[in-house]
Amino acid sequence: MTDQAYNFAYLDEQTKRMIRRAILKGVAVPGYQVPFASREMPMPYGWGTGGVQLTAACLTPDDRLKVIDQGADDTTNAVSIRKFFQRVAGVAVTEATTEATLIQTRHRIPDTPLRVGQILVYQVPIPEPLRFLEPREAETRKMHELEDYGLMHVKLYEDIARHGQIATAYAYPVKVEGRYVMDPSPIPKFDNPKLSGSPALQLFGAGREQRIYALPPFTHVVSLDFEDHPFVASKADHACDLCAATDSYLDEVIIDDDGGRMFVCSDTDYCGGRRAAGYVGRLGGQA
């Protein structure tokens, strides 16, 4: 039931228009961070205000919304954001990746492949991939302008010199269509290959930092690496203990005091779908 005290999807139409303009610019220049006049939302900065504003600007009454956090539909913040849009937009919701028209996510890309017509909205804390190499925004914007990414390559090289490999496990930087270096939000690097050539429109929103960027469908995205140290999408070397999947990203769960642990799909919809189809993992049969 929609809360009549607010405009559809909370934001007023002028604000949505301003955000849609930023989205269009982002789509036109893939990977470029478009400044936008981020609004104060009724949830704190850091809880996904950028993603919420993108979702609010994109939702239509016919949409079917899915919200995930850490891959799961039932984590507290995913529940809270989904409830917010049920209240202020009255849209249909779903947990099924295949049924959703718009998916807002924090830290994961669904393991079920996306399709044409879907929109994936990412919540982004720090949109600037160069931020921890250069804290000043005025400087990093100039570096993007000049395509001056030497500092990033030096950082990756230093990782290899020190650790024998690139020591970045999530928010692994990518290059978009051979031009902009982009932060894919804090998704595990396991998810990076799914960024490239996706049939879905991918939108990234950073509310506190006032930036929007985008990957239009079928954009070419490459994770940064070196010829002799190619990028590897890694995950825990196990199968899901509930659904036996070997191709999904896994959460590690401590199950007793003796260091016992199990590995389960982080994508709850993917795992549930496989179990419904009859796949049973190591511990999936017990109940």
Binding site: P44, T49, Q70, R106, Y170, P188, R208, Q286
Partner: protein, 360 residues
Amino acid sequence: MYVAVKGGERAIDNAHAWLASERRGDTALAELSIAQIREQLTLAVNRVMAEGSLYDPDLAALAIKQARGDLIEAIFLIRAYRTTLPRLGASVPVDTAKMAVVRRISATFKDLPGGQVLGPTFDYTHRLLDFKLAAECAPETPATAPPDPAAVPHVTDFLNRDGLIEVNPQSAAPPSDLTRAPMELPASRALRLQALTRGDEGFILSMAYSTQRGYGRTHAFVGELRIGLVAVEMEIPELGFAVQIGEVELTECDSVNQFKGSKTEPPQFTRGYGLVFGQTERKSIAMSLVDRSLRWAELGEENTGAPAQDEEFVLMHADNIQATGFLEHIKLPHYVDFQAELELVRKLRAEAYAQQEAAE
């Protein structure tokens, strides 16, 4: 058998109900009214209005009640509400020279036209707990004087007459609006002042304090501090002239700062400016010091690398709603990222051990 953490929805509902009951506290005691908070916790209300960027004492009092007295949470409630309000137009700039002052002091002149008015200040109170207050006694009736209708001219205008202080830079360009456009760096002074007036009082205070202790020293005096009501006027297109639509209480601080002169300017005093909603003098004085400190480039001063001279550092970290949100978000689940780190650290450790063993 492991059961994935389900029931987030029920947990949230229950947590909200518990929070509401904690907020109310002991129901045997009378509930606080909005009017009580507005009248008796006025300075808290003022801070919420100033940093919430919305002048409405009743809403600020409601926010304080709802936030259980957590002022940053109250400011957040006001900011989130403010987002939903339509922008009807802009007022004519308020004229603080016509302020009905309840307090007006100058630290640079012993006496001056308009007089020194001490007003309701904590300044010379002895900070001794007043145990009579615990027993709810009515205060003495304060002495009153008839209001003086004469305008109270600004102290800095007297200095200006002799050219001893810089002329306030004038600009006819409409100022940019921090709440309607993304922050641009380098920022105009108007934009900086907007960010400072809604910035966190504690942060602005510490930045100002750091300049006093030598990190970007500007030798400030309070040229003038004034608190009072000013009329808010708006041009009504149908009428063709401005009419008063209300009044707001403001605290204004003009700080007077030493300036040794530069290649282009002879020595003269320079200005720092603070203007904040409500009776908020600590914030207003601090704001004027930070404003002055950030003007080093325009005045041709040396950048000593002090934090309070660093525009991007000050402006990007002054907002407590942004700061507290980002700080507190680290309590949200991060197990996907943590898992990725875990795998990486395990791998790096395994390789390190393998190398050690190979060496032995």
